[in-house]
C-alpha cells in the first residue's frame, strides 16, 4: 500500500480530532460514531493492523475507512511531520480495498454508476446540460473561461438552481464563459477519494484531452470538489489549467461594484466547504462577497475557516451516506452550530454542502428558522 512506511508512526495523541482551540471534536466520523476506531488515529492503527494481518477486512473496517469525510481537519491539526499525508493515507487504504474488490455496497454502486453512466445518478449523458435550459449560457466555443458544473450541479434538482444562479451572475457580469454541455463528464474527485485510482485516471485523462482539444486555458468551477481535482490532481496528469472557484471570480467583481447590488437585509453565517477551505486555503473570497452585499450581517460560527466542521458530504459520503443518520450526523451537528449564531441563512459555496445542510434542516424541522442558500443565490436576491 502507498504510504505503508508511515502508518505505524501515529502516536494516537488525538490532536487530529480537535479544533485548534480544543473547544470541540471536529472529526465528523469520530463525532458521529464516538469510538476511537473512527478517529484518524484509530484509522492509522487499524490500517497498520490490517496490513499486518492482525485484523481482517470486515464490514465494520470498511465503515471505519469509508466514513472518513476527507475533510482534512486531521491534516490541519496533527502535530507530526506526516500530517500532510493523513487523508492520502486513508484514501490509499480505500484503494487497497477497492483493488481487492471488498468494499461497502454503496461505494461499489457509486463507482459502477460513474463507470457505466459517467455520473453517479445513472442519468443519461444527453441530459447533463438540461440545468442550463432557459439561461443564456452558451456551449463552450473559445470563450475566455470554461464554466465547469460537475455531476451534482448537473443532475441534482437543488444543485441545478445553484448552477443557474452562478451562470446567470457570470453572464450578467459580462464574463465570457461557455459550458461543455452534454460533453461534460465527471471530474472524478470523489472517485479518487473513494480509492478507485484507475477510474479516476481515466476520467481525468479524458477531461484533460477534451479541455486541450477545445483550447481551454481557464476554468471556473461551480463545485469545490471539481476545483480541488483540477487544481491539485490534474497537473500530475499533464492537465495544467488556470483554475478558479466561482467565488474567486465574483469577489473582486462585487467588491469593485462591477456587479452593482441592492440592499438585502439578512443575518448570514458562512459554512466553509472543506475542499475550498482546508484543502485549498480559500477562506476569504466567499466572505468578501457576503461582506460586500449591503445589508448582510455576516456572523461567524464558533467553528469556522480552518476549524470549520464538515457537513459530512466529503470523501464520497454525499453519495454513499455512510456518515448519515442519527442526531450526531455531521450535517445535523453543523446546522445546530449555525443555529447558535442566530443567523437566518447558512451561506454555502458548494452544491454538496447545500444539499447536505438542506436535508439536515428538514430533519431538524428548522425550516422556519434557517435557510440554506448558496452565495450566488444570495447575490441573486441582492441583484433585485
Amino acid at each position: 500500500m502507498k504510504y505503508e512506511e508511515i502508518v505505524h508512526r501515529c502516536f494516537r495523541c488525538g490532536y487530529c480530532k480537535f479544533t485548534g482551540d480544543y473547544s470541540a471534536f471536529n472529526c465528523p466520523s469520530y463525532r458521529k460514531f464516538s469510538f476511537e476506531t473512527y478517529s484518524p488515529g484509530g484509522r492509522m492503527w487499524l490500517i497498520h493492523a490490517w496490513l499486518n494481518d492482525e485484523i481482517k477486512n470486515s464490514s465494520r473496517l470498511q465503515e471505519i475507512l469509508f466514513s472518513c469525510a476527507t475533510c482534512a481537519n486531521c491534516v490541519e491539526h496533527c502535530v507530526f511531520t506526516f500530517s500532510e499525508d493523513l487523508v492520502n493515507i486513508f484514501i490509499a487504504a480505500r484503494e487497497e480495498m477497492v483493488n481487492k474488490g471488498i468494499i461497502p455496497p454503496e461505494v461499489r454502486d457509486f463507482l459502477k454508476n460513474i463507470n457505466i453512466s459517467g455520473n453517479p445518478y445513472k442519468e443519461p449523458a444527453n441530459e447533463r446540460a438540461k440545468w442550463a435550459d432557459g439561461t443564456s449560457i452558451q456551449t463552450y466555443d473559445g470563450q475566455d473561461y470554461l464554466f465547469y458544473i460537475g455531476c451534482v450541479g448537473s443532475y441534482d434538482e437543488r444543485a441545478k438552481k445553484i448552477a443557474r444562479a452562478v451562470g446567470n451572475i457570470l453572464i450578467k457580469a459580462g464574463l465570457s464563459i461557455g459550458i461543455l454541455g452534454n460533453r461534460e463528464q465527471c471530474d472524478g474527485n470523489e472517485v479518487r477519494a473513494l480509492g478507485e485510482m484507475g477510474l479516476f485516471q481515466h476520467l481525468a485523462e479524458q477531461n484533460i484531452a477534451l479541455f486541450k482539444e477545445l483550447g481551454i486555458k481557464k476554468i471556473i468551477t461551480l463545485d469545490p470538489h471539481a476545483f480541488n481535482a483540477f487544481k491539485k490532481d490534474y497537473p500530475d496528469l499533464e492537465g495544467k489549467f488556470e483554475i478558479y472557484h466561482y467565488t474567486q471570480i465574483l469577489a473582486p467583481l462585487i467588491q469593485s461594484k462591477k456587479i452593482p447590488l441592492k440592499e438585502y437585509k439578512a443575518s448570514v453565517t458562512y459554512h466553509d466547504p472543506c475542499y475550498l477551505g482546508r484543502h485549498n486555503e480559500e477562506y476569504d473570497a466567499p466572505r468578501k462577497i457576503l461582506e460586500a452585499i449591503p445589508g448582510v450581517d455576516l456572523i461567524e460560527m464558533d467553528q469556522s475557516r480552518e476549524n470549520a466542521f464538515c457537513c459530512g458530504g466529503g470523501g464520497g459520503n454525499f453519495f454513499t451516506d455512510i456518515l448519515g443518520g442519527g442526531e450526531d450526523s455531521p450535517n445535523r451537528v453543523r446546522v445546530g452550530q449555525a443555529l447558535d449564531t442566530g443567523s437566518q441563512i447558512i451561506a454555502v459555496a458548494c452544491p454538496q454542502c447545500a444539499k447536505m445542510l438542506d436535508d439536515a434542516i428538514k430533519v431538524e424541522e428548522l425550516e422556519d428558522k434557517l435557510e440554506v442558500l448558496d452565495i450566488a443565490e444570495i447575490v441573486t436576491r441582492a441583484l433585485g
Partner: protein, 460 residues
C-alpha cells in the same frame, strides 16, 4: 449479538457498545509498550445512571470493568488485563458548573483538559486550571486518578491536590459523593474539614470505582506569560538552582529538559522557568527577582540565561505543549515511553547520570524531562526513550532500559508515578506491611468481586 452485548446495548443504545474486532484490537493497547490484551466489549455511557447500570451488570455477571479516559498514561493502565468491559468515558464531557468567585469547576468524568481550557478562555478569561502536557484529549478525571501534574504544579502540588470533590460509582453500583458536596450543594473541598475519602479513589486507577464527576480548583489567570531558560552543564548544581528559584515564589512552573540533539543542547540542562503577570511591571519584577536569585551561578560561570529565540517561545508557552508528542517521531516510529518516578530534587544529578548510562547501554534516543512539584518538595523525573513501532528490537531495548529505571528509582528512594503492573507489584512488595494490609482492606471491602480494573493494585 451475545446476551451481554444485548444487555449493554439496552443500557446505552446499540450504537455505543461494540464487541467488533476493530474496537477489540484498538482498545487492547495504549500508545506505550505494555503487551496488548483484548477487552470483550467496549461501551460508551452518557450518564452516571448508565455507568451505574453497567457496573451492576458487571457485578452480577462477574465481568471485569476498566474505565478509560484518553488512554494517554502510556503505562498500560487502561489495558484490560483480564478482559471484560472497557468503559470509554468520553461521551460524558459536560462542564456542569463554574463557581467563579470560589474558583472551582465541576465537570463530568470524560471531560478533556483541552475542552476545559477552551471553555475557560472563552467564558472565564480570568480563570485557569493546571493543564498537563499530555495531549489535550487527556481527561481531567483520569489525570487526577493518576496523580498527574500540570502547569500549576510547582505552585499548588499534584493536580489531584487540586480536586475539590468527586462523584464516584462504587463497585456495588451506588453513586457516592466525596467531599463538601456530600453534605452541601457546594463543591469547595474534597475532604477537610471532613474525613478525606478522596484517597479511596485517587491513585487507584479505577480499581475502587468509576469517577463520574470531578470538581477542580481554578486559579487566577494573568494576562501575560513568558518563559526564561537558565542553562547549566553542572548537573550537580541543579538542586541548588531549583532551591533558589523556588525561594523567590515568583514562578508559575519549572521544568528541566536535557537532550542530546541539537548538538548545542548536548550535556546541558535547560531549566525552563515560566512567569506570569498582569502588567509589564509585574512580569519584569518577577524576572528581576529570578535573575537576582541566580546571579551567583552566573558570576561563578556555572550557568546563564539563554536567549530564547522568538520561534521557540510559542512552542514553550503552548498549553499543552504539543511538542512533547513529537518526541514519539524522533525515530520515525510513533512511540515513546517514560518512567517518571516522583523523587527528591536532590536526586536530579543521579537520575540524569542514570539516564545517560541506560541510553548508552541500550543505544537509545533519550530525553530527560523533570517537573518541579510544590516549592521543590519533590519532582517528577522522566526517563524518556523514543522507539520505532516497526522495530521490535528497539522496543525490547526500551523495555529493558525502563525496567532498569524502575529498579533504580526504587533504590534511590523514588516512588513510581502511574506505575505499570510490574512496577505496582514492586511497590507493593516494598511497601510497609501495615500499609499494604490497609490497602487490602480497602480494596476487598469496596470491590469484593474484584471486577474493577483487575490486575492493577492487586494487593491480594
Amino acid at each position: 449479538m451475545s446476551d451481554i452485548t444485548l444487555s449493554l446495548a439496552k443500557i446505552v443504545g446499540e450504537n455505543y457498545v461494540s464487541s467488533g474486532e476493530e474496537e477489540l484490537y484498538f482498545y487492547a493497547r495504549d500508545p506505550g509498550l505494555m503487551p496488548a490484551h483484548k477487552p470483550d466489549y467496549v461501551i460508551m455511557p452518557k450518564t452516571a445512571e448508565e455507568v451505574q447500570k453497567i457496573v451492576r451488570l458487571a457485578g452480577k455477571e462477574k465481568i471485569p470493568l476498566v474505565p478509560m479516559g484518553a488512554g494517554m498514561a502510556l503505562t498500560g493502565l487502561i489495558i484490560p488485563l483480564k478482559g471484560g468491559i472497557i468503559v470509554d468515558m468520553k461521551r460524558m464531557n459536560k462542564i456542569l458548573e463554574v463557581n467563579e468567585k470560589a474558583r472551582y469547576v465541576i465537570v463530568e468524568g470524560g471531560t478533556s483538559h483541552g475542552l476545559l481550557k477552551s471553555y475557560l478562555e472563552k467564558n472565564y478569561p480570568r480563570l485557569r486550571h493546571s493543564i498537563p502536557d499530555s495531549p489535550a484529549t487527556a481527561t481531567i478525571a483520569a489525570n487526577v486518578m493518576i496523580h498527574g501534574q500540570g502547569r500549576l504544579t510547582q505552585q499548588y502540588g499534584f493536580n489531584s491536590d487540586m480536586v475539590t470533590g468527586l462523584e464516584v460509582v462504587l463497585p456495588s453500583g451506588e453513586i457516592c459523593k466525596i467531599g463538601s458536596c456530600s453534605i452541601s450543594p457546594d463543591w469547595f473541598s474534597k475532604g477537610a474539614p471532613l474525613p478525606d475519602l478522596s484517597g479511596l479513589f485517587l491513585g487507584w486507577f479505577g480499581s475502587t470505582g468509576i469517577i463520574t464527576k470531578v470538581a477542580l480548583k481554578l486559579y487566577p489567570r494573568k494576562r501575560m506569560r513568558d518563559v526564561e531558560i537558565f542553562i547549566t552543564d553542572r548537573e550537580d548544581l541543579i538542586p541548588d538552582i531549583i532551591y533558589e528559584i523556588t525561594h523567590t515564589e515568583m514562578v508559575e512552573d519549572i521544568n528541566i529538559f536535557a537532550q542530546p540533539l541539537p548538538m548545542i543542547f548536548k550535556d546541558n540542562h535547560h531549566i525552563t522557568i515560566f512567569l506570569t503577570g498582569d502588567t509589564d511591571e509585574e512580569l519584569e519584577f518577577k524576572r528581576k527577582m529570578i535573575w537576582d536569585a541566580l546571579d551567583g551561578f552566573i558570576k561563578s560561570k556555572d550557568g546563564g540565561f539563554m536567549s530564547v529565540p522568538p520561534v521557540m517561545k510559542p512552542t514553550l508557552l503552548d498549553m499543552p505543549q504539543k511538542s512533547v508528542c513529537r518526541f514519539a517521531d524522533v525515530k520515525k516510529g510513533g512511540g515513546f515511553e517514560y518512567s517518571g518516578p516522583i523523587i527528591l530534587v536532590e536526586k536530579y544529578p543521579e537520575c540524569s547520570r542514570k539516564l545517560m548510562e541506560l541510553a548508552s547501554k541500550y543505544d537509545l534516543a533519550y530525553s530527560a524531562m523533570a517537573r518541579i512539584i510544590g516549592r521543590g518538595h519533590c519532582m517528577m523525573f522522566g526517563f524518556s526513550f523514543t522507539f520505532n513501532r516497526a522495530d521490535p528490537d528497539m522496543m525490547e531495548r526500551v523495555r529493558k532500559a525502563l525496567h532498569e529505571v524502575s529498579e533504580y528509582a526504587l533504590s534511590a528512594g523514588g516512588v513510581f508515578w502511574k506505575p505499570t503492573v510490574d512496577e505496582q507489584r514492586m511497590a507493593i512488595e516494598r511497601m510497609d506491611p501495615n500499609t499494604r494490609n490497609l490497602m487490602k482492606m480497602i480494596k476487598n471491602n469496596l470491590d469484593p468481586n474484584g471486577i474493577m480494573n483487575p490486575g492493577n493494585w492487586e494487593v491480594n
